[in-house]
C-alpha cells in the first residue's frame, strides 16, 4: 500500500455560493464521508493546512486581481466578475487555505513523507485565469502547484492531466508558452460545452508549442471514447515528455449522473482513467502524483467515485472489472 496524503479541512466548507449554485460545500462533505465509510481515511496521511504565501500565488495571478478578489470578499459583494463566481466573506480565506494546503502537500511529497495525494479542496481552480475568475474558480490551484514545483523544488518537467468535463482554459493559458509544463485535457467538445476553448488544434504557442494537448469528446459519448482518446493522445505524448511529477485536475462532472455535461462516463470509466494515470506516474515519475479536486456535482455518485479514486492512489486493486478486461483487449 502506498503512503497517500489527504488534504482536507472543514474550513474548505466556509466558501458558500448560495441557492441554485452547484459548487456547494456538501460536495466535500459527501466525498469525505464516502472515503471514511469505505474505511480508507485511517489509511491516509493527513496534510496540514495553512494559508499560502502571497509570493506563490503571485507566480500565477496578478497582484491587482488578488487584491480585487480579497476586497470583493471583504465588502461581501456577492460575486466576482460574473454571477457564476459567487463569493461570501470567507471565500478569499478559503481559497488561500486550499492553495496553502496544496503547497504543503507538495512539500510532504518532495520530502518523501508521502508518495502521492488527493486534495479535497474548494473552490476549484482550472478556469481561473491570471487576471480573472471564471466558472466557480478564483485561484488556479493546479497552476500555482506547478509553479511552486518549478520555483521551490526545481522540478523541470511537470505533467498536468485534466479530466474535468470542462476544458481548463486558465491552466492552458497560464502554461501555453511553457515547454516544461505539459497540459493535457480531455473534455466535452467546446462547441457544446463551457468554456468554449480546448479545441484539438490548440497545441501551445511559442516555445510551448507541442506542450499543450486537447482531446475532445462529443455529446453522448462515454467510456469507450475516453479510452480511445487517452490511449491515442495522452499515452504517446507523456511517453515523449516523461514528466517528473504528475498533477491531476480531477473533475468528476463527466459522469453520466452529472447534469453539468452531456458526457456519459461510468464509475468504472473514471477508475480506468485514474489507473492509467497512476501507471504513467509509476513509469515516468517514480509514482509522484498529486490529484486536486475540480468539478463534479452529482452528490449521489461523488462518494463512490472518490472512494475508488483514493483506493487507486493507495494502490489497493479492485477486482478486475468488466471494463478493464475490455480495455486489455484493445
Amino acid at each position: 500500500m502506498k503512503k497517500t496524503g489527504i488534504l482536507y479541512d472543514e474550513r474548505f466548507l466556509l466558501h458558500k455560493t448560495g441557492e441554485g449554485h452547484p459548487e456547494i460545500p456538501e460536495r466535500l462533505s459527501v466525498i469525505m464521508r464516502g472515503i471514511e465509510e469505505a474505511g480508507l481515511l485511517s489509511k491516509l496521511v493527513a496534510v496540514p493546512v495553512s494559508e499560502a504565501r502571497m509570493k506563490w500565488i503571485e507566480k500565477v495571478h496578478s497582484p491587482k486581481y488578488i487584491h480585487r478578489f480579497a476586497e470583493a470578499c471583504m465588502l461581501d459583494l456577492g460575486e466576482l466578475g460574473d454571477p457564476d463566481n459567487q463569493i461570501c466573506p470567507q471565500t478569499y480565506d478559503t481559497a488561500l487555505l486550499a492553495v496553502g494546503g496544496i503547497l504543503n502537500t507538495i512539500d510532504m511529497l518532495m520530502d518523501g513523507k508521502i508518495e502521492n495525494a488527493f486534495c479535497a479542496v474548494r473552490p476549484p481552480g482550472h478556469h481561473a485565469e491570471m487576471m480573472e475568475a471564471y466558472g466557480f474558480c478564483f485561484f488556479n490551484n493546479v497552476a500555482i502547484a506547478a509553479r511552486y514545483l518549478q520555483y521551490r523544488w526545481n522540478v523541470s518537467r511537470i505533467g498536468i492531466i485534466d479530466f474535468d468535463v470542462h476544458h481548463g482554459n486558465g491552466t492552458q493559458h497560464i502554461f501555453e508558452q511553457d515547454a516544461d509544463v505539459f497540459y493535457y485535457s480531455i473534455h466535452e467538445h467546446p462547441s457544446f460545452a463551457y468554456p468554449g476553448t480546448g479545441r484539438e488544434f490548440e497545441k501551445g504557442t511559442g516555445p510551448g508549442l507541442g506542450a499543450t494537448l486537447n482531446s475532445t469528446v462529443l455529446p453522448g459519448q462515454g467510456d469507450e471514447e475516453y479510452m480511445h482518446k487517452i490511449t491515442r493522445d495522452l499515452l504517446p505524448a507523456f511517453d515523449l515528455f516523461k514528466p517528473e511529477i504528475i498533477l491531476v485536475s480531477a473533475g468528476f462532472d463527466a459522469h453520466a449522473a452529472d447534469d453539468m455535461s452531456d458526457i456519459n462516463l461510468s464509475t468504472q470509466g473514471f477508475s480506468w482513467i485514474m489507473e492509467t494515470i497512476c501507471e504513467m506516474a509509476e513509469r515516468y515519475a517514480g509514482g509522484r502524483l498529486i490529484s486536486i479536486l475540480e468539478g463534479g456535482y452529482a452528490l449521489d455518485v461523488l462518494p463512490e467515485l472518490l472512494k475508488n479514486h483514493v483506493k487507486i492512489l493507495l494502490g489497493l486493486k479492485e477486482e478486475q472489472t468488466e471494463l478493464e478486461r475490455k480495455s486489455h483487449v484493445h
Binding site: D82, P83, D84, G135, F136, A193, Y194, G196, M260
Partner: protein
Amino acid sequence: MFIDKSMTTDVISAGPEMSIAEAREIMAKNGIRHLPVVSEDKTLLGIVTDRDIRTAMPSAVLGQAGGAENRLADIKVKEIMTTRPVTVSPCQTLEDALLMMEMHKVGAFPVVDQVGKLQGIISIRDLLRAFVNVLGLRDPGALVGIVVEDKPGGMKKIVDAISELGVSFGSILVVRVWEEGKRAVFPYLLTTNIARVKKQLREKGFTLLDPMEWCLDEVAKT
C-alpha cells in the same frame, strides 16, 4: 457595420508594369492572395490573385526546368490582371460583402471610393474575424439549443427565462428554418452553470435540442 470599420487600409498593391514574378514574391512574403493593381494616383486598375499567377505560369514542370522564371519576369501584371473587378465602397456593409462573396465566389474585394481610388481591401478573413467576435467565441461560455414556434414573442420568453437566472448572453443565433413553422434558437451563455439553465428552460416548457442534432445551416425537413 460599414466595411471601412473592418477593412485592411494598409493595402499592399502593385503597379501595372510590375512583373508577375515580383507580384508572386510579394504575395508569398505577405501571406496574401489578392493584389490590387493601381496607377500612381491610386486609381484601381485591376486585381491579380495567386491563382491568376499560377495559371499564367507555363507549368510547374517548366518552372523547375529554368528559363520559365525568366519568362515570368517578362510578363507584366497588367497582362494577366482582372480588369474591372467587382469592388465595394467603404460605406457598404459587412452583410453586403458577405452576400457578394457568396454570389461572386471570390475571397476579397478592393474597396474604392466614388472616384475609383483604392481605399482598402476587405477579405473573407476580415469577415471571419468580425463573426468570431459577433458569436462571442472569445468569451468563456456554452451554447444551448432550443426549438421554438416561429411566431412573435418566442424569443422574449427565452431571454426572460434565462435572464431570471442572472445569466449573461454572449450572442444569440437563430436558425430561420428548422422544420415547418419552427426555428431553432442558440443562445451562447456566459456561464458554466448550464445545467441550471437547461432545467429552467425545461420547466418553462421549452424543447431543448439534442446537441448531436444541432445545425446552423437551414435544415428544413419536408
